[in-house]
Point group: C2
Chain length 438, copies 2
């Protein structure tokens, strides 16, 4: 039996423990949803207030130069880039993940069309995050291409043994948003390249959660999210990276003025900037980028304590503890681990399914009851079987952010889950009323 004291001892020995003080976490809350929206860094309110009052209020238009607003996308992009194996100048922060995905898929499709006319398929995972699928679906429709959705083993099969000759792009999210399953970027990239396809990686659930090495893997394009493990705040701008071998080769359709070689010459014709800057489009969202910069800095505070490798070690320790506690205390009451049991192929989250004795699905209400107790995770509804694969179950998601979660938090979260079930709190009507965002 794992005790709370065991967990407290682990916290006492945790070199990353002091980083928790960088965040403002509400009293009585155990936040296991940093994979959806990262918590507020302590430095952010003052930094954003300064951007509002001094930079905007006092500096007004002058702050484009004086406060360096004009280079914020590059500055924040470089800081994020250092976390995901990009070199300085290879990454910019801008727009949303969805918009950036459109840019890189468009750019990749242009490279494919220029190199070969036979490839007209984008392959991806059926359980990829839907916005990725929607953007790819729309682009395929416009290009007359096909989006093929496969389960991971079938995807590997599809790209092996000469069967990938028609595949233009492999588009994958490195860590699955439902299960937390982690792709090996290097081997999947090599597989795609051997098949002659380009790779587009979505790092939404991996940037800031585990070591990523885009250049080491030889990836082609990547995008990622600013508001999850980068703690950039609700709807923070996303980021976009292109391997230098591609960055200057084509331009993408969102050819706005901030991607122009000389935006302030106001010339009537578009000339793309050199390198990754051509993946910028409109005027940067300064306030949101400022908050994102703070969020990324909280991660960089771990540099002196072992950096992303140390964060990954603690992340694995937290998820392993959670899995062990679930096995011990929650398996007997119907919960099962829906995430990989092998930590090496799991991101920084663990998802659970629940099978109730009465046969009904109580997952949503269980999560609401947990949230009412201050344990904030989230619920993702299952989907029916379709042409691409079998039905997916309802899941309860628990994300583990090593910067601010303690081992005792993991213990307490499981303890609350056990109590919710023992007291049947999930049967209360208030927990069964669906909200707009579930």
């Amino acid at each position: 039996m794992i005790s709370r004291d065991d967990c407290a001892r682990r916290d006492a020995a945790d070199a990353l423990a002091p980083l928790r003080d960088q965040f403002m976490l509400p009293e009585g809350v155990i936040y296991v949803d940093g994979n959806s929206l990262g918590a507020l860094p302590r430095a952010t309110p003052a930094r954003v207030a300064d951007a509002v009052r001094q930079e905007w209020g006092d500096g007004l238009i002058r702050s484009w130069n004086d406060a360096g607003w004009i280079t914020l996308p590059q500055r924040v992009g470089d800081r994020i880039g250092a976390l995901v194996g990009a070199k300085p100048g290879e990454c910019v922060a801008a727009d949303s993940t969805s918009v950036n995905l459109f840019k890189v898929l468009s750019a990749a499709s242009r490279i494919v069309k220029a190199d070969s006319s036979a490839r007209r398929v984008i392959v991806s995972e059926r359980q990829n995050f839907p916005t990725d699928l929607y953007i790819a679906e729309g682009l395929c429709r416009d290009l007359g291409w096909t989006l093929e959705l496969l389960e991971p083993p079938a995807l590997i099969e599809r790209l092996s043994g000469g069967r990938g000759g028609d595949v233009a792009i492999m588009m994958l999210t490195q860590v699955n948003y439902r299960t937390g399953a982690l792709h090996d970027m290097a081997s999947m990239t090599a597989l795609a390249h051997a098949a002659g396809a380009l790779t587009v990686w979505d790092l939404a659930h991996s940037a800031g959660a585990l070591p990523v090495d885009l250049n080491g893997a030889g990836a082609d394009f990547a995008i990622g999210c600013g508001y999850k493990f980068l703690n950039g705040g609700p709807g923070a701008p996303a980021f976009v990276w292109a391997h230098p071998r591609h960055a200057g080769r084509f331009w993408q359709p969102l050819s706005g003025w901030m991607g122009h070689a000389a935006p302030f010459t106001f010339r009537p014709h578009y000339e793309p900037a050199a390198g990754i800057a051509r993946f910028l489009c409109g005027t940067p969202a300064v306030l949101s980028l400022t908050a994102l910069e703070c969020g990324v800095d909280t991660l960089r505070a771990a540099d002196a304590l072992g950096g992303m490798a140390a964060i990954r070690d603690k992340s694995i320790a937290l998820t392993e503890l959670f899995v062990a506690l679930v096995d011990e205390r929650c398996a007997p009451i119907g919960f099962a681990c829906a995430s990989p049991r092998d930590a090496r192929v799991r991101g920084s989250q663990v998802s659970l399914t629940h099978a109730s004795a009465d046969g009904a699905s109580h997952g949503y209400a269980i999560m609401q009851a947990l949230i009412a107790r201050g344990v904030i995770g989230d619920f993702r509804a299952g989907t029916a079987a379709d042409a691409h694969g079998p039905a997916l179950p309802d899941i309860l998601r628990f994300g583990f952010t090593p910067l601010y979660l303690r081992f005792v938090d993991v213990f307490d979260a499981v303890d609350h889950l056990v109590q919710v079930m023992q007291r049947e709190e999930y049967r209360e009507a208030r927990f069964n009323k669906r909200s707009a965002v579930t």
Copy 2:
């Protein structure tokens, strides 16, 4: 001779004068660049701080429901819509102006392609804001269409007398960013429609500056900027409107999850939401949208004082005063009005050219010297003659935001300009060093 006392008397009689207190303007600054970046509303710092500390920090992921983040694009869109002649539910705030332009041009092109195959030309103004031209240029390249850039008289000619049979879309910015020239939206829309073309209006310099009536004009699509006369802060999200007859008809290529009919069902296939919501793409930038909401509210405070009509009346009075003072005091020292002299066809800005006795162009340095005196306008470099038309001169831009500018400010701004010239301050080396953003 117009005296400063005359101006002070006009301020004393100005019904909108109290609105100035809604803004935090730095001591000693006369801000005539609200057409580039609106000033900071007094309510914004506290409102943004609340969104950061309470909504994000304390509410965490729960704020998507509890603080209504999920409907922010619609809520802010409706408030903006009320200023531009849109009905509730017709307008959303999201992404950047450039990205939104791509959406509406794409949607318009799909309508055209479905209706007729003969139309393959987008017509616009040569002096339209470059990002609009860049986005249209990129789209035309992908579609195999042509972007034709004309001066306004030639544009009218092009759409008249049966010569517009190949024109798919007329894309115009209602108020020209260089000269402040104002198009009559109703008559230009009627002209385009008579030629069988759709209309895309960029309201960047008109939303919040003058009455706009999208439905009254029967326009097809519109976009606009949140950080100019809407005072939404640096890089604030933009807005997008589609006439209800088009909104549900096609979807646009940026088919992200927030434009899905049911984003939180996480279905693998895209089904566009009904109406304007399908023009949303990724997760909304909550902090920036919150600041934008405050900015729009400062405009709505004028509702009780006559609303947009009263704002327009004061705007005209301010620009007329500026033109009169320039004629009186600056014409003799080389300045000329580069904006329409007829206030009915002029937006809320006046641009000046300067011809120096030594033949050199001192426009940039003159504006820097003015800024050093606290009179903040901006400079836009001219361009050489090209295939589309003659050379454009360097200009000094002065934007007039009726919410916070006084008649004495106009007097003082001109007085400073005269002093900069009399003392030849523009010759100082520090004013001749170009910055990143000019």
